[in-house]
Symmetry: C2
């Protein structure tokens, strides 16, 4: 670290003078830096967003990869088309039709380097500086970062246990319309949201699509966690209710196979996909082909459907333990969401506690979390935090929550 800083400081070249205006604005997150340090210590980190490596179907991947390198090495190791590896695109279209009732004939598939790349591509092809886009409050941190580069005007809509408050969205749409402003798109992590853990209800999903028609906007539905359901009944994705191609659906293999492959996909109207495909050409030519081939066989040979229940079985007790521990240890005045799936619980502390300031104390007590502030585009909520329950084993989750509760109690005393 010291060596690096010395390097950074030294030398006769004024590197900052070469950076673009937008690059000068880019800053590493302080919280991220702090959490990096935590990872190598004895602190119990509930801060991460990683799937548990125990859920990776390693034996299946070994078998599939060996088969691919035996039978399809010439294709799997070569450049592919920008739109993606055709057998995978077909397998995904079929899978989404079967699983989500989204007709294959209505969507085109583009494979991407994880759904993060889809967010950047959407920013690139949709957002002009000043364009109004709607996100949830709170919303996925890296979506804010991806969109922010393109200088939109963010509007954020509060959530409750049924997801985005569509009634408030409608009010806002009407208000903006009166101001002569058009909303270009609404971004939602519809199921087991990151960071809040909540799921948009069926009724709201349908209503959101109606509003998209009425107010002429696009919906970006980000679905990374939707297969990780531990209780309750599955709800079809918003895309299922989309008649006219207004919903851009983002899927990923990061939580149902392995994130290290960096394979995600976009399912959307061909006209939107075509533009994203052209934009992607100059960004990375194509998504890694070997990873796409592995994902293809994983879906095509039925491993995906067979493996999902195993992931669910592995994570469910972790979610249960976290919710139980919160119930057991947290003092009055603290509330949290009760996710039916996904990876995160969202905790709200009494007003007056700033979770960003509290983090250092928590770390000194041996537990880490992500302060909620950065999940709000306007950074206007200080008393929230995100807890992850997929990466750390049950006993550590319990102990981590206990330590966190102690920290909170001490902070409460100061109020």
């Amino acid at each position: 670290m010291k060596k690096l800083e010395k390097k950074l400081a030294a030398g006769p070249v004024d590197f900052d003078s070469f950076f673009s205006q937008k690059a000068l604005r880019m800053k590493a997150s302080e919280v991220r830096e702090l959490l990096k340090l935590v990872e190598t210590s004895d602190v119990i980190s509930l801060a991460g967003g990683l799937p548990a490596p125990e859920t990776f179907p390693v034996e299946t991947i070994k078998k599939i990869t060996a088969e691919i390198l035996e039978e399809h090495a010439d294709k799997a190791l070569q450049y592919g088309t920008t739109k993606g590896f055709t057998p995978l695109r077909l397998a995904l279209a079929r899978w989404m039709e079967k699983r989500y009732g989204i007709p294959m004939s209505k969507v085109e598939i583009l494979t991407v380097a994880g759904s993060q790349q889809a967010l950047d591509l959407i920013g690139r092809v949709i957002i002009n500086p000043g364009d109004v886009i709607v996100v949830e409050a709170p919303t996925y941190l890296a979506a804010i970062q991806a969109f922010e580069y393109y200088d939109p005007e963010f509007v954020s809509i509060p959530m409750d246990d049924e997801g985005m408050r569509i009634d408030l969205l409608e009010e806002k749409l009407e208000e903006l319309k009166k101001q002569g402003k058009r909303v270009k798109m609404v971004y939602t992590v519809s199921t087991f949201q990151n960071p809040a853990g909540v799921t948009m209800s069926l009724e709201r999903r349908k209503r959101l699509v109606e509003l998209a028609e009425e107010y002429d906007f696009l919906i970006v539905e980000d679905g990374p966690y939707s297969e990780l359901r531990y209780s309750g009944e599955p709800i079809p994705p918003i895309k299922h209710f989309d008649e006219n191609g207004r919903v851009i659906y983002l899927g990923t293999f990061s939580k149902i196979l392995a994130p290290g492959l960096r394979i995600g996909w976009v399912a959307a109207h061909p006209h939107l996909i075509r533009k994203m495909e052209i934009a992607k050409q100059s960004i990375d030519l194509c998504t890694n082909t070997l990873g796409q081939a592995i994902a293809w066989k994983y879906v095509e040979d039925g491993h995906l459907d067979g493996h999902i229940p195993k992931i669910v079985e592995f994570y469910k007790p972790r979610r249960d333990v976290m919710l139980e521990a919160l119930e057991e240890y947290m003092p009055e005045g603290v509330t949290w969401t009760k996710p039916e799936g996904g990876m995160f619980v969202w905790v709200t502390l009494p007003e007056g506690i700033d979770t960003k300031f509290m983090l250092e104390k928590a770390v000194s007590k041996g537990v880490a979390y992500v302060p909620g502030e950065a999940f709000f585009v306007h950074r206007d909520k200080k008393n929230t935090m995100r807890l992850n329950f997929t990466y750390v084993p049950e006993e550590k989750i319990r102990e981590g929550v206990k330590r966190l509760a102690e920290t909170v109690k001490e902070e409460l005393k100061k109020l």
Copy 2:
């Protein structure tokens, strides 16, 4: 195709109204579309830019991949850091020190999704709209596309058999300085250039670095083909002569291992790498880890150094046959470069022939090439073309060049 167009036309949503200004400007290349059709026909295509799959070290990759999935699956299938898989970054730094005499202590390594992603990242962190950047005439097509998105003012410098005309660059720098304009960076494919096949001489490399100091600019050295030398003596990369960190070196495994892994790297001053790393975070979080792990073992265990001579041995006869066939069949007035390595020969026809118009005729005669126009940022040269000699077997190269020569002769008659 027809079905897709029908889909594109139909529907009540005016998708174009959602696109950003920059997205509306993005167009698919007509030539690319034509060449796509060619790929499935009997036409001999000298248009591609693909390595031959016969050069992929499939058995080594099988072995390495099995080992990785046996011993390191938890890491190789997990999210990695944005900067890249540390063992690979170290192995590359060591390899570059040994092979190119670039001290490890002077560079930081960032791994990327193929060097194409590095071009986009460089555009993102360096180019403000209107910034002057210098490229070669002709230059790598996809670099133009990557940089163009960020709205630079392109200045292009002609080349000869020793690469970029550094004397003309100096004149231009002086002229721009007098106009109060600063050149921010010079982009060069220094060795076996794409598309021209030529290599910048040792003397010019040194002079370019001096000029960078004198006129205060950065150099982006793109080195995808530098290991593919079939004759002549190796020349150190420009980065070798860089004292102060002005050279950003781009490397890739696409031509020395397999492009389907999409693994490239940037070697540059830590201050520049840090900014690119932050920019990459919102673009794709990290480069695919499995591919990075494969590349790591490939370098670390010495396979890379062992395999390069085999690739060279495979391509050399193809280059030789292409040069012989050009000599044998091309009419007077046609000239071409004599590359000592790489993948491409650059052909210049007599003035008055437009290779873009000639392409359809060539295809009807059973041969395809890439018209040179698109490799010039100002699209001001019509009588050039790029021929690839790595993908097609020797006998087809000979036949392809013969067909091409016939096409050219017919065109010449019309002049």
